[in-house]
């Protein structure tokens, strides 16, 4: 009983440490323009990934990271229906010249990165990130 408690506390501490340390994140540059998203590199090992986003377009954009490949996405009234995918995280209101960062923990698999402001997706603001084990 006591041992379980100690383990639980240790686990909690480890998790806490994991989610607060940013140093070991793999950097990915995410370039947003009107209308495309380019990730470099587009393939990273599983773990903490830090997107250095940079909007060099003339419009405000957003940056959504979704789990799963985007093949099942359909467009209706200018927005992508992403209900078949799970949202990992997002940054909204990225103004022209904006350079926010977004740090997420990713398991191995395929991820879809897109901007879902009306019509931005269908004009080409979508790309894929591959996370290897």
């Amino acid at each position: 009983m006591k041992r379980t408690a100690v383990l639980a506390i240790a686990a909690a501490l480890t998790l806490g440490a994991c989610s607060s340390a940013d140093g070991d994140a793999v950097p990915v540059e995410a370039a947003l323009v009107d209308y495309s998203i380019t990730l470099s590199p587009a393939e990273v090992p599983a773990g903490r990934v830090s997107f250095a986003i940079s909007n060099t377009g003339d419009l405000t954009h957003e940056f959504e990271v979704l789990e799963g490949n985007g093949d099942s996405i359909t467009v209706d009234k200018g927005v992508a229906d992403t209900s078949s995918l799970t949202v990992i995280d997002e940054v909204e209101d990225i103004i022209p010249g904006g350079t926010p960062t977004l740090t997420v923990d990713l398991e191995s698999g395929v991820y879809t990165v897109l901007c879902n402001l009306p019509e931005h997706y269908e004009r080409g603001m979508v790309t894929t990130l591959t996370v290897t084990p």
């Binding site: 607060s20 799970t86 402001l117 009306p118 019509e119």
Partner: protein, 275 residues
């Protein structure tokens, strides 16, 4: 500059409307203490927002997406409940707040309900301000041109404050019954938008999964990045392309609420005047 101006305006307008209306009510109520407490609350809320935003920035951390959306959804629902309470309060007290009765009613109104309004003003600023402060703080070091972006954002907020100030002056000048009728309509539209936004947040967090297809494309009117879109989005609380669920909730809330606000207030008991 225009982009951040629009964002500042969009985020600030809702809180400015609520605070402006509450300020004019408390002023007419004649309860000086509550009026002053409201401003202290608003100032405290602004400072808290800036403090939290700077703190998060320094710590370099952010709330996980799901908890962020769920927290936002809950805060938004609480705000909607607060706004509804305010509408009901104004309806009930409209006749007591006539300027000529100011002195006599001050005592009667100095109860818990006045302080609930003070609390709502604080809450309205916290709700909108936190997000705005985080956005503005992120501009520093997060944009190629932080000064221009910040100036735009602050000018947007100032414009929102000016709108709130206009409402406050209007509330002092105009016949209260009419003022409450008009602001009541504004407030229930605002509350309906808040409930729809809460639905949007819960859907983003994955808690709600039905009727998520886009219902209608309003992006021609609500094109992100324009002043008109900022005011309409803040006021209506609708996404540029709302889902069927968001639209249904918005209408289901708005219609009965409008009927309630526009129906004549309950008659007050006739006073017996003894010479």
């Amino acid at each position: 500059m225009l982009t951040t101006f629009v964002i500042g305006l969009r985020e600030g307008v809702e809180a400015a409307l609520i605070v402006g209306i509450i300020a004019s009510v408390l002023r007419r109520d004649g309860d000086r203490r509550a009026f002053r407490a409201m401003w202290a609350g608003v100032a405290l809320a602004v400072l808290l927002c800036i403090g939290v935003a700077v703190g998060l920035r320094v710590a370099g951390s952010q709330l996980p997406f799901r908890s962020r959306e769920i927290m936002e959804g809950i805060l938004t629902l609480v705000a909607a409940a607060g706004v509804l309470y305010m509408v009901a309060w104004m309806r009930r007290h409209a006749h007591e707040l006539k300027p000529e009765l100011e002195e006599k009613t001050a005592d009667a109104l100095r109860d818990g309900s006045t302080w609930a309004l003070v609390g709502l003003a604080f809450f309205a600023v916290i709700r909108e301000g936190l997000e705005t402060a985080i956005f503005l703080v992120a501009l520093v070091g997060g944009t190629a041109n932080p000064v221009v972006g910040l100036t735009g954002g602050l000018l947007g907020i100032l414009t929102a404050v000016a709108i709130g100030w206009g409402i406050y002056r209007g509330g002092l000048r105009f016949d209260l019954r009419r003022f409450f009728r008009v602001t009541g309509v504004v407030l229930v539209v605002l509350a309906a938008g808040l409930v729809a936004s809460a639905v949007h947040s819960f859907a983003e967090a994955g808690l709600i999964g039905f009727w998520q297809a886009p219902a209608v494309d309003l992006s021609a009117i609500l094109a992100p990045g324009t002043v008109r879109a900022a005011l309409l989005t803040a006021f209506l609380g609708l996404q540029p392309v709302p889902t069927y669920l968001e639209l249904a909730v918005w209408i289901a809330f708005l219609v009965p609420a409008l009927v309630f606000v526009l129906s004549p207030p309950p008659n007050r008991p006739t006073e017996v005047v003894t010479p």
